[in-house]
């Protein structure tokens, strides 16, 4: 069954007098457990697509069904609930809260979801161990290396056990070696059944995915699953 079903998605931005079609008539299906790379030059609409998949943005027209449920018509608060339960984000610049420790950053989604502290601590401890961060639990982000920061961010993205993980240039701020580590980590999660969508303009990174989507001018130029 398709986890993600996009049909006739339109997203336009008004930039001064001109209208930019960030996404134009996009149809896309992603099955649960897939590993998809979205590639394309800047301005091709790949980030807009990711924001849309993450319910951070709304299309002007078209429908988005996530897990069989139409999520385009939900209220912002209902969308927040869906994000909390079903979607994990990994950002290029990590987006860790600087004043919180690694453990607190990982616990943040559970805190926002109102999960009791005892349960949070248990899950954070396990995540720290799984991601090799147990020595770094009380470190603030500025005391962590880039690779450690991104590991904290991935731990945070997966702590609610979402079926969908969205990664926006996850290795963009990392050197080759740590970037590879992070990709391996994401791929391991994918092996365990998490649907992984990676946005990148790094061709070698994109080539690792089992399915590649090439975007250009808001349209799907090439879908490796259909060719």
């Amino acid at each position: 069954m398709a986890l993600i079903e996009l049909a006739g998605i339109e997203r336009r931005f008004q930039l001064g007098d001109t209208t930019v079609h960030a996404l134009a008539g996009l149809d896309l299906q992603i099955t649960a457990g897939e590993y998809v790379a979205v590639m394309g030059p800047s301005g091709s609409g790949k980030s807009t697509l990711l924001n849309l998949l993450g319910l951070l943005d709304r299309p002007q027209s078209g429908t988005y069904r996530l897990d069989g449920r139409d999520v385009t018509t939900l209220s912002p608060d209902e969308q927040a609930k869906v994000r909390s339960a079903k979607i994990g984000f990994v950002f290029q610049s990590f987006h860790l809260v600087p004043r919180l420790t690694a453990a607190e950053n990982i616990a943040l989604p559970m805190m926002l979801a109102g999960i009791p502290a005892a349960e949070r601590n248990r899950r954070v401890a396990k995540a720290l161990k799984d991601f090799g961060l147990d020595q770094r639990a009380d470190h603030k982000p500025d005391q962590l290396s880039g690779g450690q920061r991104q590991r904290v961010a991935i731990a945070r993205a997966t702590i609610m056990q979402p079926p969908l993980l969205l990664a926006d240039e996850p290795t963009g701020n990392l050197d080759r070696h740590t970037g590879d580590e992070v990709i391996h980590l994401l791929e391991e999660l994918n092996d365990r059944g998490v649907t992984l969508v990676v946005v990148t303009h790094d061709a070698t990174l994109g080539a690792r995915a089992r399915r590649q989507l090439a975007m250009e001018d808001g349209r799907l130029q090439r879908d490796s699953a259909r060719s």
Partner: protein, 402 residues
């Protein structure tokens, strides 16, 4: 998000920027401290004056010669006298009124007092035995004026504590003969030191029988007649009765003024209460300023933490959660400021009380509650706008900002 988590998150956010937080807490603290301290001053002044008036006696009704043109208390009555006579017999007749416990006529003047080669100017109060209990004076030694015919004055005197000290020093005063004006009087009592009693320093007072004082000053009129009512409730009735009796005795002419201590007290109470309120109002302006500062700080916080807000949204925070987090932060800043200010104000009032022990500089409860309430209220009110702004941020835009 759970309430405890919201509060902890807001606290961490506030302590994450210590300088900014300290400054806004300080601003709020100064506002609250100003309210507490200024109202303590204002209310202290009120209590001081009320206390001074109360020391005159309780349930007093005072008869003055002369008629004030309009009703009510006219401050001029307290200082001017008129040629109309208010006699000892008038005073004696008032004793028969119902609900009157004590009556004391009062004739005053200044004279010289001499003993053992020492001479000094004194204030002489001519009255009767009941003057001392009415005015709440106390005798240190000896006895009160004899309970005799008011029109016949024995040659006796009760002297104030300071006069006793200055003229007699260590030698016993009781039974000694002193000279006042051209008369020789025997000292039968000495007053306890009592300090200032609204213009009349009782420590430098000589009390003699009223008839003797009138003879000394060659006058038939009284300065005042003081009546003490049985109870507070009886005061208006006593006032009416005294006025109508004296009118009857003065051939239907209403040529006296009857004032009650309550009326004077109420006037001062109202006056100084209004002053305190005005001062509190001025201090409240600084609270409003502090509230605006908290708003400013929160707006800066929203701008500074735009990326964080976007992240929170991406992680599934609802608009309400974000609103609450920022509102709690504003409330915490104001509450912390209010508490610090309350402490500073109380310390200030304490220091004032140490420096001026006679001045009861305690902040009134209403001012403390209003001050703290206004502080937290303005903090919350001015926190609403930044919190709403934070909640309404577009997550995509917010995440792009770093």
């Amino acid at each position: 998000m759970r309430l405890a988590d919201t509060l902890r998150f807001a606290r961490d956010a506030a302590t994450g920027y210590p300088v900014r937080t300290a400054l806004s807490v300080l601003a709020m603290a100064i506002g609250v401290a100003a309210v507490v301290l200024l109202t303590a001053l204002g209310d202290g002044a009120r209590r001081y004056v009320v206390g001074q008036f109360s020391s005159l006696g309780t349930n007093l009704v005072i008869v003055l010669p002369g008629r004030s043109g309009t009703g009510g208390f006219n401050p001029a009555n307290a200082i001017t006298s008129t040629p109309r006579d208010l006699t000892i017999d008038d005073a004696a007749s008032l004793r028969r009124l119902p609900h009157v416990r004590r009556v004391a006529p009062l004739a005053v003047g200044t004279s010289e007092m001499a003993f053992g080669g020492k001479l000094r100017e004194v204030m002489v109060a001519g009255s009767t035995a009941e003057f001392i209990p009415i005015r709440h004076f106390e005798l240190a030694q000896g006895k009160a004026l004899p309970d005799e015919d008011w029109n016949h004055g024995s040659s006796v005197a009760i002297i104030g504590a300071k006069l006793h000290e200055e003229l007699f020093g260590a030698t016993p005063a009781l039974g000694q003969l002193i000279r006042i004006g051209d008369r020789r009087l025997r000292v039968i009592g000495v007053l306890k030191p009592s300090g200032q009693g609204l213009g009349m320093n009782t420590d430098e007072l000589v009390i003699v029988p009223v008839a003797l004082a009138q003879a000394m000053f060659n006058s038939n009129t009284l300065f005042r007649i003081m009546l003490e009512a049985n109870s507070r409730d009886a005061i208006p009735a006593v006032k009416e009765a005294a006025l109508s009796l004296l009118k009857q005795r003065h051939r239907g002419e209403e040529d006296v003024t009857v004032i009650t201590q309550d009326a004077i007290l109420a006037t001062f109470d109202k006056l100084l209460g209004a002053l305190t309120l005005a001062v509190a109002g001025i201090a409240a302006i600084s609270l409003a300023v502090a509230g605006i500062l908290v708003m400013n700080v929160m707006l800066v916080a929203v701008t500074q933490r735009t990326g964080e807000i976007g992240l929170l949204k991406a992680l599934g925070a609802s608009a309400r959660t974000i609103r609450l987090a920022f509102l709690s932060e504003a409330a915490m800043l104001s509450a912390a400021g209010a508490l610090v200010g309350y402490g500073l104000g109380q310390i200030g009032a304490f220091v004032l009380r140490q420096l001026f022990p006679v001045f009861p500089a305690y902040p009134p409860e209403w001012a403390v509650i209003a001050g703290l309430g206004t502080a937290i209220g303005t903090g919350l009110l001015f926190g609403v706008m930044p919190a709403r702004r934070a909640a309404q941020l577009d997550p995509v835009q917010a995440l792009m900002k770093r």
